[in-house]
């Protein structure tokens, strides 16, 4: 039911600027009514050579790594044979080297082909999990920011915001005074300010009133400790009271979220990721968390701007006019219509996350040593480059590049297919 509602809406917005039909694609308007939006996008995508190439590469990597992981046993801990150290690639068994090594062997005589194939499992897993983390957290934050920036808040929403602010600021105060229950007092003050939003609204008396209550709530209990603490806590209480007395709306939530994202974005991503891994300790799972965290602002910004542009559309106004509730508006109308840029970004984000995982592994911060991972394999072997062992560096790097290229091609194809306006 919902699908039938949205498809024509999205179609309508796209039609006026639809690109000229490409070679081989017959745009038959008579049968257009029976197609779904996704079906159309799929048809557009498989008509592009680049996208097909990307899909083929991605499928190749997924299949090879998944099959290898489940059906080709490999134990990195016991895999070493010093007699086969740093042998160049060879495809025929000889007396000296009885086994074949299409990609050569590394510094402890491990077959590089085998490790590249198995390393894919780790690299792709990092990509998927990291993008999952950034997408879930960043997407939710962006959705909240974009939605509440334009929507008026109900009294419950205002209560939650004001109460939350009271709780957070009160927590600082309670920490200083050493009395945890003060936090709750300030949360209560925030909720009271939200409920009594008509009380002297817009007048100077209002912040003074709530600030005064905050001063008492903060200062009086702290007097039990000593007057200095009471002075500091009273001041903080005054401030908290005055802040919750302000007309807090959705724009404030949006602003807070986006400023937080700005702070994360002000750090160079790779240094932030290194710092997080240094904090959590090395390991593939820690690397995933680090890469995922660094990606959060990207998705938050993207989703927010998409939501802001969707909210402007007539069908949202129409839905609000007929009295659709906020939750339904958000999940039935805004989310489905904001999906396509997110899908494209997530595909390209996978490519990026694989690159980042390689970089962290290369610096020795990703997979723990015997575990095969492309970046770590490069980091292991590049010291042997000067002695001519090019194969140990070439093949893991080619694997990273090809898989990243595959996801990028796929992302490009998806963008062209899902959003024909952008196809230039």
């Amino acid at each position: 039911m919902a699908d039938q509602q949205q498809v024509p809406e999205a179609e309508r917005s796209r039609r006026p600027v639809a690109p000229p039909p490409r070679k081989g694609v017959v745009t038959d308007f008579a049968v257009r009514e029976h197609r779904s939006l996704w079906g159309d996008a799929w048809r557009r995508m498989i008509s592009s050579n680049m996208a097909r190439l990307g899909m083929a590469i991605v499928l190749f990597f997924i299949l090879s790594t998944v099959l290898a992981h489940f059906f080709w046993e490999y134990n990195p801990k016991t895999d070493s044979d010093y007699s086969l150290k740093l042998k160049p690639p060879h495809l025929k068994p000889t007396a000296e080297i009885p086994t074949i090594h299409p990609f050569g062997t590394d510094k402890v005589g491990r077959d590089i082909f085998r490790r590249v194939v198995h390393g894919g499992w780790n690299s792709l897993r990092v990509g998927v999990v990291a993008v999952g983390i950034s997408l879930t957290i960043g997407g939710l934050l962006g959705l909240l920011a974009g939605f509440y920036e334009t929507m008026p808040l109900g009294s419950a929403g205002r209560g939650i915001i004001a109460g939350g602010i009271g709780l957070c600021l009160g927590a600082i105060l309670a920490w200083i005074a050493g009395q945890v229950w003060q936090m709750l007092l300030f949360a209560g003050l925030g909720i009271a300010a939200a409920v009594l939003d008509r009380l002297w609204a817009g007048k100077a008396v209002r912040p003074l009133l709530f600030g005064g209550v905050g001063l008492l709530l903060g200062g009086l209990p702290a007097l039990m400790v000593n007057p200095y603490v009471a002075a500091v806590c009273g001041l903080l209480g005054l401030l908290t009271g005055a802040v919750v007395a302000l007309p807090l709306g959705g724009a404030l939530v949006s602003n807070l979220i986006m400023r937080l994202m700005d702070i994360i974005l002000a750090f160079p991503g790779i240094l932030l990721a290194i710092a997080i891994v240094a904090m959590l300790g090395p390991g593939l799972d820690k690397g995933m968390i680090a890469i995922g965290f660094v990606g959060i602002p990207v998705y938050a910004r993207l989703v927010r701007s998409t939501v802001l542009s969707v909210v402007e559309k007539e069908y949202i106004t129409a839905a609000r006019a007929v009295g659709v509730g906020q939750a339904r508006l958000l999940f039935r109308h805004i989310v489905p219509n904001s999906l396509s840029p997110v899908i494209v970004q997530a595909t390209m984000g996978l490519a990026n996350a694989i690159l980042w995982a390689g970089a962290l592994g290369f610096l020795g911060l990703g997979a723990i040593p015997p575990e095969p991972e492309w970046g770590a394999m490069l980091g292991d072997s590049y010291k042997y480059l000067a002695s001519g062992a090019w194969w140990a560096v070439l093949f893991p790097g080619v694997a990273i590049m090809l898989s990243v290229l595959g996801f990028n091609l796929l992302g490009d194809g998806l963008r062209d297919a899902l959003d024909p306006r952008l196809r230039i």
């Binding site: 200083i176 050493g178 790779i270 490069l378 480059l385 990028n408």
Partner: protein
């Protein structure tokens, strides 16, 4: 315009304060004691204590609540974070824990190295990327278009640490054309005034040193330029294609103007704004995060320095370096925003 600039500058303050808080918070969460890292695992306990006291590591991180409860207001504000902020306001970034030298001095040496590498890479990226983008837009769907777009996709997909290694293998190990790393031959002496070696050697009229510096710069700059080059080429192409559909381009063709004039004067000028944005943002990125390139080519810049400092728990260096990088990054972003008003008279900031 001026008011807008001032407002933007003021709004940077909370962001930068947030950056310092995050740096402090993260660093203190990294396990390991800098005093132990400095003295070694087997140092005597009282030595470690003495060093901790010297470095101020025994003070609370944000605020000293115990002192407040005892009624000592001055010690209440005497925390690691507020000490750092206070020093920062007087322009003092502190000393490196490990090397015992002022961070500001080290920055004077390392920052020019990073800037030299970043700007040189950006020049390469612009000189290759923009013509490639124009060419593929002008000859859309031609072989050139396909090649340069595939090339730029490969560029975006390139792990630059691997590209750097391949360059070293080819040009330094097999062909022996270029040096493997560093900024200058160890035996060469160059009196530096600006610490930009290319400029310094020119000022001294030392051609041999100039060529040497250029040789050292070639490989890291080529590696670092790959991604911006690819991004600039793609952005130029799509922006040009959009402009080429405009009516005034058809008019220009109809007037009988030469193709070159239409492309460069009518189309490129109008297609340039998004390209400038991308160039600005990418320059910010290059200045901030050439960690991996600097590590591979032993380039003594900021990225490698901060990376080493994170692993060595050298708190002051990480704080100073990260803060500098963050400041540069947000200022570059601001300049990009402001440049719109100069480049496109239609844009006004209130």
């Amino acid at each position: 315009m001026t008011r807008y600039t001032i407002r933007r500058l003021i709004s940077l303050i909370p962001t930068l304060l947030g950056v310092t808080v995050v740096v402090f918070f993260f660093l203190r969460l990294i396990p390991g004691d800098p005093a132990v890292a400095m003295l070694g695992e087997h140092a005597a306990q009282d030595n470690v204590e003495r060093i901790r006291e010297q470095l101020g590591l025994n003070r609370p991180v944000f605020l000293d609540i115990e002192a407040l409860k005892q009624g000592d207001i001055r010690r209440f504000f005497d925390s690691q974070y507020l000490r750092f902020l206070g020093r920062l306001l007087t322009g003092n970034l502190g000393d490196s824990i490990h090397r015992r030298i002022p961070i500001a001095n080290e920055l004077k040496l390392r920052f020019p190295a990073t800037v030299e590498l970043a700007l040189f890479s950006m020049i390469i990226a612009v000189l290759v990327g923009i013509p490639a983008g124009i060419l593929s837009a002008a000859r859309r769907n031609s072989v050139w278009d396909g090649l340069s777009m595939l090339g730029s996709l490969i560029g975006v997909s390139m792990p630059i640490f691997w590209l750097g290694l391949m360059e070293i293998m080819l040009f330094a190990v097999f062909l022996k054309w270029l040096p493997i790393g560093g900024r200058l031959e160890a035996t060469r002496e160059l009196q530096t005034a600006t610490h930009f070696y290319l400029i310094d050697s020119l000022i001294r009229g030392d051609t041999a040193a100039f060529v040497d510096a250029l040789k050292h710069l070639a490989m890291p700059a080529a590696a670092l330029a790959t991604i911006p080059m690819a991004i600039i080429a793609r952005m130029t192409r799509s922006s040009m294609l959009e402009v080429l559909q405009e009516d005034y381009i058809r008019t220009a063709h109809a007037k009988g103007l030469r193709e070159r004039v239409v492309l460069l004067r009518h189309a490129l000028k109008n297609a340039f704004l998004p390209v400038i944005t991308i160039i600005g943002l990418q320059t910010g990125n290059l200045l901030a995060g050439a960690v991996i390139t600097e590590t591979i080519f032993a380039w003594p810049g900021i990225g490698k320095w901060v990376y080493d400092a994170i692993l060595a728990r050298d708190y002051p260096v990480v704080q100073g370096g990260t803060l500098l990088i963050a400041v540069i990054f947000v200022i570059v972003n601001l300049l990009v925003d402001l440049s719109y008003a100069f480049l496109d008279p239609r844009i006004h900031y209130e």
